[in-house]
Amino acid sequence: MEHTSLLERILRGAALTLVVIFFMFPIVWIFMMSFQTNETILRIPPQLVFEPTLANYTALITGKLTTASGTLDIAFMRNLWNSVFLSTTSVAVALLLGVPAAYAFARHKFRGSEDIAFTLLSFRFAPALLVLLPLTLYFQKLGLANTYIGLIWVYQLICLPLILWIVRGYFEDIPADIEYAYRIAGHSWFATFRKIALPLAGPGIAAAGLLAFIFAWNNFVFALVLASADKQPVTVGALAFITSSGIQYGQISAAIVLSITPTLALALYAQRYLVEGLSLGAVKG
């Protein structure tokens, strides 16, 4: 199929260029806005060449925004910390709970195993608010409203199914014979799990953890419903920031850049596993 005509190659090239522009432009543009002062941002037509400034980032990091009308406190660093803390802890908990369960589902076909696995999977597809709205009322009674523990618990709805189903696939890929051989040599199931299964499934577990981190980080609705300002992650914080600070477009762009950079970096790092993770193990990349 190498005899493609020149015209076809030009058309393909043009189509690909359009695709790349459409999908890359917003990220590039917000990145550029984050290095501009409000004066350059508001200029019409929009400027492609400008003198870059780090003022937006310094304002976010110091938490003080000096405007003509006075100084404004920005709690954005707090949101960033909340995102880091919530996502990391949620993934750690999900790995602790999910990896042994995934091993059980992969190695032992016990009664009800498929039902339990599918119940966990179905959480991935149920409407979030169906559970979240009654949960707000329960959390108030239980004293879990606006606590990290409550949020981390609810975040398991995103992290657990993902980890369970991806890691299960990796355990299934390990030939059972290797484990039998080790067991016959007189080792306990726990030693087998720790010395054989875990290391062999290691890369898959790491990838599942990274993906779960990305999904936890990108979540919006859980924290919107269950957290107030001091516990909110960046997704909710950035929206509140826009409403409160109104016209500080440079800082808002810088906040968005800081919020999306971690997930983009992780995604580029883990891209080999993304296909498998996004399809919950149904498609191998």
């Binding site: 189509a15 059980a104 032992h108 016990f110 169906l130 009654p134 929206l239």
Partner: protein, 307 residues
């Protein structure tokens, strides 16, 4: 439980421990989720009650009234219509666009691989933040897209703040975020197809359109179905993009199921109606996910080499 105690117990307790072990391993994960199942049942109860947070004293069972009211409630029909329209348009366009891009990138060249990795970036952007990015770009005062629209003669194009273009704008953001999802699944599918049928077709000089419709598409169908259902399930429940962009507005132009339920709960504090809306959405997703899971399992078994 340490390895040492397991060793010691083995002669007597081995059989039992082998039967119980998988339950012990999976129980913690299950327990954590059961806590979440309780609110689900609560939602069912709420949906059969007259329950407003502002009038807790008037709370009582009214059985099917919340549901029956929907039949004569134009706001409900609007919600249903917008949700289906949103899901239908986004999934259809993303499917066509994703398939086209996947076919453009099918050959494993360095450039193609690089582009396909770059295209993952929108997908990894939080949808709520993506909506904010587009909000900045479509700002009527300084937004670059508003400026570009004015260059092609669309003076004062209002994007998400006008009822006539709000749906178009959020659909555009959805396409920006989620087309790469379909693209990456179909690309993996295309690249995993056996090459012989295509070589045979090329040898016989079969026209390209015939190859596409009679070989590529049928072989790609399980991937297309899985990607479509995945997206359909997410899209009918879309909340982040719409809420971050317009909060369901202007007016009730974009009050899809989850946005409407959220506003009902927190603004009009009508818990009963909110719960009933969520149960209906759940019924739709339950129906879709049953079809989905069958398909997804087939693909998964194929990927694991079990089928």
């Amino acid at each position: 439980m340490t390895a040492a105690t397991m060793q010691r117990n083995r002669p007597s307790g081995f059989r039992i421990s082998k039967r119980v072990l998988p339950y012990v391993l999976s129980l913690p994960a299950l327990l954590v989720c059961i806590g979440i199942l309780i609110p689900f049942l609560t939602s069912v109860v709420y949906s059969f009650q007259r329950y407003r947070l502002s009038q807790p004293w008037a709370r009582q069972f009214n059985w099917g009234e919340n549901y029956l009211n929907f039949f004569t409630d134009p706001k409900f029909w609007n919600t249903l219509q917008v949700s289906l329209l949103y899901a239908g348009i986004t999934v259809l366009l993303e499917l066509l666009l994703g398939l086209a891009i996947a076919m453009l990138l099918q050959k494993r060249t360095t450039l193609n691989n690089f582009i396909s990795i770059m295209l993952l970036m929108p997908l990894m952007t939080a949808p709520a933040l993506a909506a904010l990015m587009w909000k900045l770009m479509t700002n009527p005062g300084f937004g670059v897209l508003s400026y570009l629209a004015s260059l092609i003669g669309l003076q004062d194009f209002r994007w998400a703040s006008s009822p006539s273009t709000a749906l178009f704008t959020v659909v555009l953001v959805d396409i920006w975020v989620y087309t790469p999802f379909i693209m990456i699944l179909l690309l993996a599918g295309l690249r995993s197809l056996p090459t012989q049928p295509f070589e045979a077709a090329a040898l016989d000089g079969v026209p390209r359109s015939f190859v596409f419709f009679r070989i590529t598409l049928p072989m790609l169908t399980p991937y297309i179905l899985t990607a479509t259902l995945f997206r359909l399930l997410d899209s009918i429940q879309q909340f982040d993009i719409i809420y971050a962009m317009t909060q369901g507005g202007p007016g009730d132009t974009l009050t899809v199921f989850q946005v409407e339920a959220y506003l009902n709960f927190f603004q009009s504090t009508n818990v009963g109606r909110s719960a009933a809306l969520m149960i209906i959405l759940w019924a739709i997703t339950y129906f879709l996910s049953n079809i989905f899971i069958k398909n997804w399992l087939r693909l998964r078994e194929r990927a694991r080499g079990l089928a």
